[in-house]
Symmetry: D2
Subunit: 353 residues, 4 copies
């Protein structure tokens, strides 16, 4: 249920509404908008009686919400959510597309710094790199753990990139919080509700990847788990779904991009690397994602993909990433968005070609 306040409502009237809601054993979430404040009510098992809320001072109307999701919905907050990263020009959800690039796994200092430099030079503002890897086999490389987090933090200092890295349980999440700028929840954990609730109590923004067989509603409900714990900074990410199709590792469902924008105020990124699983498809699908209107890309880049400890087949080379950025930048312009310019180092490299 949503209590919509009048344009002229006073702060103390909003407080009074919240108090009433909490006195009923429910939770109140204040949602400030450009033109009005709304108060969302959660915690009810079934339909909520209005309990006189509509008659309180400053209240314009009380809206019964029939969809299962609330906080993620455009009904509650119409303007797109824009996430800012302190001490940086990086944003997600604003006019500039967020580009997150880097290796699947952090493997060594040399590997990470080589990729990070290429990523930073080409205009991306975020570095990805796995420290904790959820692998199908217990005998596959499981990530370097905290050692990788330390290296990622060094990269932030060296190149000014914001760090996005995955947490796989409460323990790793606590460590990621110490070292990184954004917590990634992977596709396999999209319905690990215990982990989602923990991420919802973190001060860091959360990148939530769509599960392999998640419907749009399930993805939004997973985001709702995070938001219902108090963390409003959630970013969704399409990374391909599982279908009968065998020419591709996963089937990238790009049409979820306009569908998310239709229903929710949250930003949605696209990962064409996991979304296709094949290097030669990453560039075309990255372009397609930007053309479809996504809020950013997440791309795997590796200087020596054939030696990568994970996902080498889908990692592109730094030169291919540079080309991807140029093409994505041009298409972004056509759909009314932008991508940061390459740094002088990279611009020179392009000019020299």
């Amino acid at each position: 249920m949503l209590v919509v306040m009048k344009h002229s409502a006073l702060a103390q009237q909003v407080d009074a509404v919240c108090s009433r809601i909490e006195s009923l054993g429910l939770r109140a979430h204040v949602l400030p908008g450009a033109a009005r404040i709304a108060v969302a009510i959660t915690g009810n098992r079934g339909p909520v009686e209005q309990h006189g809320l509509a008659d309180m001072p400053g209240v314009q109307e009380v809206i019964r919400v029939t969809k299962q999701y609330k906080l993620v919905s455009r009904d509650f907050k119409d303007e797109p959510t824009v996430i800012h990263f302190p001490g940086s020009d990086a944003t997600i959800g604003g006019p500039e597309l967020a580009i997150i690039a880097g290796p699947c796994s952090v493997e060594s200092r040399d590997q990470l710094f080589a990729v990070a430099e290429a990523v930073a030079n080409s205009g991306a503002r975020f570095l990805r790199g796995g420290a904790y890897k959820p692998r199908t086999s217990p005998y596959s490389f499981q990530g370097m753990g905290e050692e990788a987090l330390v290296l990622l933090a060094e990269v932030r200092e060296a190149f000014g990139l914001r760090i996005v890295t995955e947490a796989i349980d409460h323990e790793s999440l606590a460590l990621v919080e110490q070292y990184a700028d954004m917590i990634q929840i992977g596709a396999r954990n999209m319905q690990n509700f215990s982990l989602l609730k923990r991420a919802g109590r973190s001060p860091l923004p959360v990148l939530l990847k769509r599960g392999m067989s998640a419907t749009l509603e399930e993805l939004l409900m997973a985001a709702e788990y995070i938001m219902s714990e108090g963390n409003a900074n959630v970013v969704l990410c399409e990374r391909g779904i599982r279908t009968f199709v065998d020419h591709t590792r996963n089937t990238l469902d790009l049409s979820i991009v306009p569908a998310v924008h239709h229903l929710s105020h949250l930003p949605i990124l696209v990962d064409p690397s996991h979304g296709t699983g094949k290097r030669y498809k990453v560039l075309p699908m990255a372009r397609a994602a930007v053309a479809a209107g996504c809020d950013g890309l997440m791309v795997e880049v590796h200087a020596h993909p054939q030696e990568a400890l994970s996902d080498g087949e889908q990692s592109i080379l730094p030169d291919q990433f540079r080309k991807l950025m140029e093409e994505a930048r041009a298409i972004a312009h056509i759909v009314g968005r932008q991508i940061a310019a390459p740094l002088p180092a990279d611009a020179e490299a392009i000019a020299a070609r």
Copy 2:
């Protein structure tokens, strides 16, 4: 099996190879290329013995093909297939993207002409419109039949558009051949092999839509059925596949575009109307398809979609189509392709906005 001729091979040497192949009870298909001629052998139940082919004059090498498809493959013909339409600048597979637009079904003369004018003005060179409609229910509108074909032929005269329309059996195919410029085989008939063989004996090019649960290999094999009967002018079309996803009517599998180009010389179009089933997704996904590198679009346009006898929900309005063309044209430019300019009538309309 493929017999690759030398660069210097004489026509009579090619003929001799073909005769030898046919004397073995097999079929020979001459495949002219820019640099070499190859002769494909079909009709073998299992591996073919070489029977001295490699030693014949003019033969460079004999290649055993392990993939099930032959004629559709890049191994046999490396240059992209470009289809020309006599008496028209229209092409499919060349640098210019083919835009096929129009109503799902032909419903009346007025309806058809209104849409055709808008389609022609915006720069598209092909009109679509169903005369025979494969509908899930026997009680749904099944198309106007030959009456619709007559109207489509009138439209060709009036606006210079090439006509693409669906055939659903041998009888309707014979009629479509009389009136139209290109035969469409719908998704539900992609493995109607009797119909594919008949289309393979037609002088008209064939637009083959991907079946709802067809793999890439099955799509290529369906094209192989048409080509193996002698019709080399086949165009593939992605129109969405069936998955668990419920936010969309079908899941548009755009990553098949680079995959087709990887394996085959045939052009591939994308149908964002059936591919999404929702009007608000048609524009973003049309842009995405062009960005992914497709060879053209097939789009449903209707002046009064709410009154359409079929698929109104996914048909866009003429004004939305005009916008689609502008955006697609700009993106085509970025990926090294082009779309014909709007006619003066339309250019004026745009300027007046």
Copy 3:
């Protein structure tokens, strides 16, 4: 719309209702039931006005049907459809399960007779065997055509088996009608509406296999196409659907069996051979199908599967088929059904083990 007649309605009152319906440009289908007669109305594009039907003599009530299917529905005919085969004890839909077995393709007289004898001895009353084969590749064995039909007709004489074989277009359907007892429409043609309509005008019963990505509603609507042309003898067949699963060729959706019985009066068989694609799964899934309540089985049997020209991997041996029949017979008994006893020849063979 359905016009339900009174228990006491006279034949001439039913005739009058039909005449009225036809005078409205619609079609009337008389549906005799054990306790009442109903008249189904089809041919309406949208909701039908009642036009005074409810007030005619002998009419009890007029029911508006909201589902898209009519003739296939339990709303129109509550008793299960039972199909009889003239000159034979064979039935489909009654208390006895229909067992249809035989080779994927007819390959030779010897091959066919060897299998037919084993099939007949084990108690099955129907022989399957393909004369026209829809194959993914144009270069695969496409069936022996009419020559196979002649052999199948010989088998009927020799062993008293009813013959079920597939038609793939109008031409082959006309031939199948001459030689066989039941026309099979394959999965790839489930939405070949032109072929369905032709089958609907045949005097023979039709076995309709579920398409690889067909929903239950689409399967019922395909049966409705056949019934709406006047052929009431339609039998459905589950043969596996296409999913992401890779341990099996198709995913056998057994839960469609109770779902069909819930909505429709038509019988439903199960094909565990195509439904799994692997010999070792055929027996367990045949047992499971009978336990789930299906009306019969369709099973591929071959005396030398490793030499089969098609589908050898999923064909079971005559001995395995004998075991399948014993186990299926025992389970049928538990769910209140039965399977005919083996012939003495086979009973002896079992006793001798």
Copy 4:
């Protein structure tokens, strides 16, 4: 890699092999079989050099394993795994089918005891009941937590049933270990590798449900995660997968039952309640599962399903469960298995009908 010991190998020879393996930085797992002992090696990143293992005393051969799973494989342990429950006749994997029944969620003492009595009387030896519920929405009932575990432990005392209940994170797993007899890992957590590893260090057997889009290999690899931590008592459970099909909540993939038995020694149960989502399908699919050869059933039973706080639509009534047990018992007999007889209380009730 697997080191197969000679029939005559001495215990100290086995120890020596293990020591050598561990000295190489790898892990050794002793796998006792009826006829031979084998030692599995895990922990290798790539192929393992043999390092002279084949020449050690008592070693018969060293087998290179190409499949990704090892400990779960029939290559390592050919006899089926049978799990015993101390202080009880209950087993999983032996000749007797394991029947686990009870409510989706524990809701109250009365609700639980009513169901438990019916379950126990009908011959089932295991009670299920959720204390921690992974729900799509954060606003749905999330389970009673430890309070439910206390009630479940009471039920064990009262009716002698073994308790199976789900853990969703490390915290709840520690509590489940205190109160229950078997830890359930739900479908959404099948690839929560952190939780799988924790379960692998538990002394209790683990029931591992297949993820909604998990392949057979992924399911086996998830079991391998548990086994590689030292817990050999893993039971798999098919509960339906996600497909395009809409007549059912999930598509029950029964053919995985013979496929698991083909590849693995682990028992596999079937959950026809989640597997179909509809009450009227539970009985037919339970029968089908037993006929397919499963090692047991997991069924939701509720005395008042319309009042259930979760999954009421798929819960059957105690009377329906009694009928399910009778039919399953009869079919089990046909496939060479058995189900425990009902208690006198229930036998009387049946007789009285």
